[in-house]
């Protein structure tokens, strides 16, 4: 009973009230910090994206340009990231580029991932449309990409809608956006 009385007296004093408020601020501070560790980090993404590409450079023939199918698979599993591009159309052999790398930094507030990617494999035509497109999307130089340099890259995953079926993938700083299908991370493996 004695300590209870003493506590009450402390709470009623000026210093006690100040201590009380500061303690609460500190508790909230610590709580948010702890929560951040316990919230399951959304560190697994499997995004499948498909686009119609109109990559003929002649602007005059914009209406007669060939439509290509551009596919992007974005995979992020904890520390590993991969980008697989595939471009195909009727008139030219298919092209593809695979980039692999790891996650450098994650910003959960905005689902912003800083990656460091490296060219793993490529299959490109002369005058590659895919290569031109990727230099824009990844904001890198041709020699950097093809010589297998480490490419810093930042992507943001937005608007994952309520049913977790689609998300918008944004490349920073190139401002390229994709609407992608979210593939559930754990798929039952057929035997």
């Amino acid at each position: 009973m004695k300590w209870r009385k003493r506590a009450r007296r402390l709470l009623q004093s000026k210093r006690g009230k100040l201590l009380f408020v500061l303690t609460w601020v500190f508790v909230l501070f610590a709580l948010t910090h702890v929560l951040e560790y316990f919230v399951p980090p959304h560190q697994q993404w499997h995004l499948s994206c498909r686009a119609d590409g109109y990559f003929d450079p002649q602007q005059a023939q914009i209406t007669s340009s060939v439509v290509s199918e551009l596919l992007l698979t974005f995979t992020l599993e904890y520390q590993d990231a991969a980008l697989r591009y595939h471009l195909g159309n009727e008139s030219l052999p298919a092209e593809s580029i695979v980039l692999q790398g790891n996650v450098v930094k994650v910003d959960f507030g905005a689902l912003n991932y800083a990656l460091q990617m490296q060219l793993k494999s490529k299959k490109l035509n002369n005058d590659s449309m895919l290569l031109d497109y990727l230099l824009n999307e990844l904001a890198v130089g041709e020699s950097q990409l093809l010589e297998g340099d480490l490419l810093p890259l930042q992507v943001q995953i937005l608007n994952a809608n309520d049913d977790q079926l689609r998300a918008t993938l944004t490349f920073i700083p190139s401002n390229s956006i994709w609407s992608c299908e979210i593939i559930p991370a754990v798929l039952p493996q057929p035997h």
Binding site: D56, F108, N136, N175
Partner: protein, 247 residues
């Protein structure tokens, strides 16, 4: 003697507000009430004591409502600046506090006046630190807001939401938003009810996301377009038909 901002002259039965340079000549009853309060400063003077007016000529009772009106008059006169100097407790009595208590500014002038400026400052600083900490962890999404947003009404009365993202040049964003919305208006039928366009930083590509929400499901389509000259409009009716935006 001094009461709040007034000087109480007992000889001349005069209450002088120095700040406003006003004077109040107290009559017998008013003087009696104030004198009782001053004599028992810091204590509650019961209403019964105040009601029993003792003058040189003899004692008599003061009607209750007259007493109350005198009390309120005194409170009004004394308390313009010094709130809570005189407190009237209904059915009980009146107290004239020994010292003015409202020296602090208004924000600290709460019933218990617990915080000093320093303590108040510590709390503000602590809250700011917490806010900064939270903000540093929650970056606003870069793409949350489009640079240009248009609502386009097509020929057959369909509404299309058009958003253009351009982190380089607002003029280009407006140019292409205008161009696209003009062309969309001419479409007979638009297959999508939301169109987002992002102009690439290197000015050579435009990414489109088309979406159509139907009762059951959402449909999406991406279009990537290479553009030679981003500073001139490139979207035509033929193109909109070719990429199946208009149908």
């Amino acid at each position: 003697m001094q009461i709040g901002c007034c000087w109480f002259d007992k000889e001349r039965r005069l209450l002088t507000d120095q700040a406003k340079s006003t004077q109040w000549h107290l009559n017998d009853h008013e003087y009696w009430v104030l004198e009782q309060l001053v004599l028992h400063r810091g204590q509650v003077v019961p209403l019964t004591t105040l009601q029993t007016v003792v003058l040189d000529s003899g004692a008599h009772q003061l009607p209750h409502n007259e007493l109350v009106s005198i009390i309120y008059h005194i409170i009004d006169y004394l308390c313009a600046k010094h709130s809570n100097l005189v407190e009237y407790i209904p059915q009980q009595g009146v107290i004239l506090y020994p010292a003015t208590q409202g020296k602090h500014t208004k924000i600290l002038d709460l019933p218990n006046r617990l915080l000093s400026w320093g303590q108040y400052g510590i709390i503000i600083v602590a809250l700011l630190v917490v806010l900064l900490f939270v903000l540093s962890n929650l970056n606003p999404p870069l793409f949350a807001k489009a640079d240009v947003i248009r609502q386009v009404l097509t020929a057959n009365g369909q509404m299309v939401q058009l958003s253009v993202f351009d982190n380089q040049s607002p003029q280009d964003a407006i140019l292409h938003a205008d161009c696209l919305s003009n062309q969309l208006q001419m479409c007979h039928e638009v297959r999508w009810n939301a169109i987002s366009a992002a102009i690439s930083t290197d000015r050579h590509y435009v990414s489109f996301i088309l979406s159509q929400s139907e009762t059951q499901s959402l449909q999406f389509k991406n279009i990537k377009l290479a553009v030679d000259d981003m500073h001139s409009p490139f979207i035509t009716q033929e193109w909109l038909h070719k990429v199946l935006i208009c149908g």
